[in-house]
């Protein structure tokens, strides 16, 4: 049964055509992945499907009725729900209150609605999802995975027909992903159609029944999951073949640049020692929450330590200031929050941390700043019309390149990167990996935290695995497999 049909849907933003005559059908009871690089038109298509944006040409039929642009609330009453990567909930309210807060009088048949009486119904909804969260728990204290379940439960309260999940796995641990997929399959079997948007191909192949690939606003093809594979999907997405493996020519390792000994903080990690040498990319693997980001920030001097020592080029580092002037930069995990100033230009983002290099006795030299920024933009192939464009207007991959590029103005020796390619499309991912490799090959060093198993196995020369705040082992990248990393990360014996 066809639930939703897009016919010849086109959409322009200004003069840019973001969707070009897209024909798409979604069946009830299927999980349908929509795949494409950043800027391929996925999010616009999803907004049109949900009825939040109306197409400039073409029609959308939901349940046989032509749908109209409206609000999220209007979409919800039609049985369409959107689940975001970061659930949009009310942290001060309880689970139960979050689920029922928008209950309308007519939905309860005109009878007085008592929020406090909804405990049983809430338990019932949550148990349909296999969630053990208590209806009276405050949402602020739940994990992202539990919050997603609350979000889905709120959608299930009504007659749910179409669930749209937008990169839901980005901040989940593997077992939470497994649970989410179980819930998605359960809903599918109850006849709910699910649109899944994601970047991780192995997840998409695991969960979807059908996969639609978009490129440059055009629908390239819709395939059945059983008839395709990763290589084909990548080819369709980027329109050409690429070599997914980063060649790691065995590096010439030089002297030690960074040496960390017995570093501990009060809560997140303890007694970590490592050495990073010229020419090396060192990977730091482990589960989400194993303390890797906190460790990286402490090495950079951004967090306080309780004991241990960080030596850079033979000098001890205590503060961010010493780290930067000693030749070390950090590209943080959350580029929107810590890595970039999204409301400021690419130029300012690149100049801001380097003013003492570009300015003359404290006076800024704007032309030099522009020259520097232009150079970084062309070196990293950042797609911008002009360096004065706002950083927030760029795609994820380009933002990440700016976040990395601002450090390349300086002659750094060590770059610490935290999840360098999260939320970045495949083409950019490869280029960022190549950049890191080039940086290391020029006699510098990279310390990289990654939860993307493929990235962790292919990019670094050596992998250290953390578990619950401690180093649990080291694997040379030649001998590393997904299994060997997971063993160390989870502490399961071989």
């Amino acid at each position: 049964m066809i639930l939703l049909e897009c016919q010849q849907v086109s959409k322009w933003y200004g003069t840019a055509k973001v969707l070009d005559e897209v024909d798409l059908t979604i069946e009830a009871g299927e999980i349908h992945a929509i795949l494409g690089e950043n800027g391929a038109g996925k999010s616009t298509l999803v907004k049109i499907i949900a009825g939040l944006v109306s197409p400039d040409r073409g029609q959308v039929f939901f349940d046989g009725i032509q749908s109209r642009a409206g609000s999220v609330a209007a979409a919800q009453s039609l049985g369409i729900a959107l689940i975001h990567q970061e659930p949009r909930l009310f942290p001060d309210l309880t689970v139960m209150e979050n689920i029922w807060i928008d209950q309308k009088l007519r939905e309860s048949g005109g009878r007085r609605f008592r929020l406090s009486k909804m405990g049983d119904r809430t338990e019932e909804l949550l148990s349909r999802l296999g969630s053990l969260v208590s209806p009276n728990a405050r949402v602020a204290f739940l994990s992202v995975a539990d919050q997603q379940m609350v979000d889905i439960a709120a959608a299930l309260r009504r007659d749910l027909k179409l669930l749209i999940v937008d990169e839901p796995t980005a901040s989940l641990t593997p077992s939470e992903v497994t649970n989410l997929f179980r819930v998605m399959r359960g809903l599918r079997d109850q006849g709910v159609a699910i649109i899944f948007i994601g970047h991780r191909l192995e997840e998409i192949l695991e969960i979807s029944d059908r996969i639609t690939v978009l490129r440059d606003g055009k629908l390239v093809r819709t395939l059945n999951q059983s008839e395709t594979n990763e290589d084909e999907l990548i080819r369709l997405m980027i329109g050409r073949d690429i070599d997914t493996a980063v060649e790691s020519a065995s590096p010439q390792l030089g002297e030690t640049l960074l040496s960390v000994s017995h570093l501990s903080d009060e809560a997140h990690f303890s007694d970590i020692s490592l050495e990073l040498r010229r020419g090396e990319i060192l990977g730091l693997g482990g589960l989400v929450g194993s303390g890797r980001s906190e460790f990286l920030e402490t090495v950079f001097g951004a967090r306080s330590r309780t004991q241990g020592q960080v030596m850079l080029n033979g000098k001890e580092i205590f503060s961010i200031h010493e780290a930067i002037s000693g030749g070390m930069g950090l590209v943080p995990e959350d580029r929107g929050r810590n890595g970039l100033i999204l409301l400021s230009s690419v130029l300012n983002n690149i100049s801001a941390p380097n003013l003492e290099i570009t300015s003359w006795h404290g006076v800024r030299r704007p032309f030099k700043e522009i020259r520097n920024a232009d150079e970084i933009v062309s070196r990293l192939r950042i797609k911008v019309a002009d360096v004065r464009q706002l950083a927030g207007e760029l795609s994820g991959g380009n933002q990440q390149r700016v976040s990395l590029g601002k450090w390349l103005v300086r002659d750094l020796d060590v770059i610490l990167v935290d999840e360098p390619t999260r939320g970045v499309d495949i083409g950019s991912k490869m280029e960022i990996h190549a950049l890191l490799r080039k940086f290391a090959d020029s006699g510098k060093a990279v310390l990289m935290v990654s939860s993307d198993m493929r990235e962790l196995l292919s990019v670094p020369d050596r992998i250290l695995v953390m578990r619950e705040g401690r180093l649990n082992g080291e694997i040379p990248s030649s001998g590393a497999s997904e299994e060997s990393v997971m063993r160390l990360a989870t502490g399961v014996a071989a």
Partner: protein, 337 residues
Amino acid sequence: MNPLTVTSTWRSLGRLREAGIAGVVVLLIVIFGSLNPLFLDRDNLSSIVVSVGILMILAIGQMLVIITRNIDLSVGSVLGLSAMVMGMVGRELPEMPTYLLILIAMLVGALAGAVNGILVAVARVPSIIATLGTLAIFRGLTFLVSNNVQVDPEDVADEMQDLASSGPLGIPWLVIFAAIVVVLAWWFTTRTMSGKRLYAIGSNPEAAEMRGLNVLGMTFGVFVLMGALAGLGGAMYVARFATVNPADAGLGFELAVISAVVIGGTNIFGGSGTVIGTVLGTMLVGILSNGLTVVGVSGFWQRFASGAIILIAIIADSFVRKRIERRQSNQTMARVR
């Protein structure tokens, strides 16, 4: 970790805080009483009750505003304006019944609140800026309508003045009004859907829009309600002092009102706050200001003390909050798959 224990820790924290404020209130009474026995004198106690009553009416309104992640700095000026208009109407029409005069004051307040509400909810001016502007505007209007002539005790009917001193069972009507406001607010915040939605709006305004809650309407409504309560406060001000001077009626009231709300544990960033906490916070502020006068502390040190106590309350609160949150996050972190 079991989410149930999380909730109960949080709830008991709320109770702990309320018990803490109550403890400070008792402590203050003991200290002031032992420093100067006149503090416990019947006349002084009833004076405290009456001034706490006026403060309470405004603090309840302010709490609702702050829960929605807004603030109303203009409350003192609205109180002054509505007291002035009501006093002048009473002077011109001495035959007008008291309840009508009170309604006029509340209407003037509600209109002023509607101006704030339009600025914040419709024009989307940040409330701290919008009400900072109207604080000055309403004070100016008070001068304009009164022609800088004050309302004197002989202009205020005896029935009006009696509201602050007598009533059924010897409880002044003013106190009864405040109690009614408190009970209604308690019912609204704990027993109604609209009350819960007020918390939702303050907890995550973006999500509230997404879920189709009427953010605009509720924000406007809460400012109108605040205005009407400030108007009622204005009427009670007239009943108590029988004088309205355009230069000082309600001047600086916003400081006492906001202190009371924040000391009572309402999160200044919206999303949480209880009526019980606000009641206790108001008592603390009222007793402190009266007690400092009675034991002979100078005006300067009184202001110093009330400023310091807000800071202490906020610092203590965020300290406890952070500790609890850190404990929670450590426990979540330890829960690896």
